[in-house]
Amino acid sequence: MRLRAAGSWLLIAVLAGAACGRGGGAVVLATTTSVEDSGLLARLIEAYSRDRPGAAVRPLAVGSGEALELGRRGDADILIVHHPREEEEFVAGGHGEDRVPLMYNDFVIVGPPDDPAGVAGTGSAAGAFRAIARAASPFISRGDGSGTHGREMDIWSSAALVPDGAWYVETGQGMGPLLQMASERRAYTLTDRATFNVMEPRLALTILQDGDPALLNIYSVILVTTSRRRAEARELWRWLTSERGERVILGHHDARGRSLFRTYLVAHRTIVEARADGGVANDDDARPGNWSTLRRRFLCRSVPPQQADPACG
């Protein structure tokens, strides 16, 4: 009988402890599966915990679509996502603020090394998709409203195609599991370069098309307005957009020593400094017009070798 009573008290204590732990000041960072699968998320959390001991961050790697949903419901405090159209809607709807480009890399089209659909010679993302559709070669889509899925849909639109047929398969999983599936089924897919580089040794896939400006992949960090931990979230935002944060991001390499994400140290310093000047309320920076100026400066300074935007001058 005494043992049973002790057991009950222990159970109550554990539950109470668990409930307390959840309350706390842990900032919920919702981000994409690509940020996690590439290993960057773990590195960011670790570095932040070292710089700010005592600051608790709870990372959730879902998809951009779901991360934005979490933001709308107030279940996340800060987001790192890569779905520009939905991000703009999110901010316009008043759910987010201080949306700033954090880092970028590109999407690539991967497939079986023997390339049955002849993607390698097409020269563009839309061309590659057209070749795959024409050959009815197996293609696997995220099908989950993520940033990658959004970009894939954009490319299908630009190729004036609606993918349909037994060759086109939608799976509701993250980028990592999808790549494994594509490798097993010898299928084509669209993926971000970071996740692919990290998983490459275990996959029977190669990059068949890249370098198209339509494949540029910019990740933004956004603060959630309905967050209950605004102060802590802003702390994390400041750290991420600081030089320290950017060095951590740049320092994240794959097994061959390649940087998986690139950043642009100066472009968004203007926004950061403007805000640090005590709420100058310079919402000019957040207006669509200046966003594209920012994006252009962002592109021109740190463009991968294959891309040369004539607008850079």
């Binding site: 679509g65 989950d144 398969v169 509701g172 097993e184």
Partner: protein, 232 residues
């Protein structure tokens, strides 16, 4: 529209996506259960009815099957079926066949362990009596099993309950592919993640209904079983 209203609408309007997923779950789990019963019932029952030197450790081994984590079964099946694995040439990974196989492996120990327990409950005298009345060995065994048929049904029901609500193994070996390997549990995970709570709730209601139905069945078998035909 709030999620509950949306769920109701989906349930009553014959939504194609919803019912396709439900039917596929029933097909995969039903087939797996059939295989599991085929393997588990005779194995468990015969072990329970027999007496042999290694019976105790054998019974312990079968009962460990009840503690086997389904997701570990999924991992094992995945490693077996992947291209770099021994059965890779079959090319069945990410298909319903792989899911049926994994679920059969999960359910079989359940069915075996519970049939074993049920068979152990049958009084030894019953078979002796049957033999005395002229039945041969096989007829005696079948008669004994007939007496315990309610418990054997419970074994099958328990196996079904275990696999219909399982999500890890079917996600790993199936891949949650729309129109091919998406079942109720994996669909609920995806739709919850996408924020489509209406359909997630609708699927959850159906899944809950099935689980409750199985429980009711088990309870009624249990109650009926209390009136043992041979103890009067």
């Amino acid at each position: 529209m709030n999620p509950l209203a949306e769920a109701w609408k989906l349930l009553t309007s014959g939504d194609l996506y919803l019912w396709e997923v439900v039917l596929r779950s029933l097909y995969i789990s039903g087939t797996a259960l059939g295989l599991a019963a085929l393997i588990g019932l005779p194995t468990g029952a015969l072990i329970g009815l027999s007496r042999f030197r290694l019976k105790r450790p054998t019974v312990a081994l079968v009962n460990t099957g009840l503690a086997l984590p389904p997701v570990v079964v999924g991992l094992t099946v995945y490693l077996l079926l992947s291209r770099s694995g021994p059965l890779g040439r079959l090319d069945v990974l990410y298909s319903p066949v792989a899911m049926i196989g994994a679920q059969a492996l999960i359910a079989a120990p359940y069915v075996a362990a519970i049939s074993l327990a049920a068979a152990s409950e049958i009084p030894v005298d019953l078979r002796l009596q049957a033999r005395a009345l002229g039945a041969n060995r096989l007829e005696a065994v079948l008669l004994a099993l007939r007496e315990a048929r309610a418990s054997l049904l419970a074994a099958v029901a328990a196996g079904f309950g275990a696999i219909i609500s399982e999500v890890g193994a079917v996600m790993i070996v199936g891949g949650n592919i729309l129109g091919e390997t998406r079942v109720m549990t994996t669909a609920i995970v995806l739709e919850t993640r996408r924020g489509n709570f209406g359909i997630a709730i609708a699927l959850g209601v159906i899944l809950l209904g099935m689980a409750l139905a199985i429980n009711v069945l088990l309870v009624s078998i249990g109650r009926a079983g209390l009136r043992r035909p041979w103890s009067s």
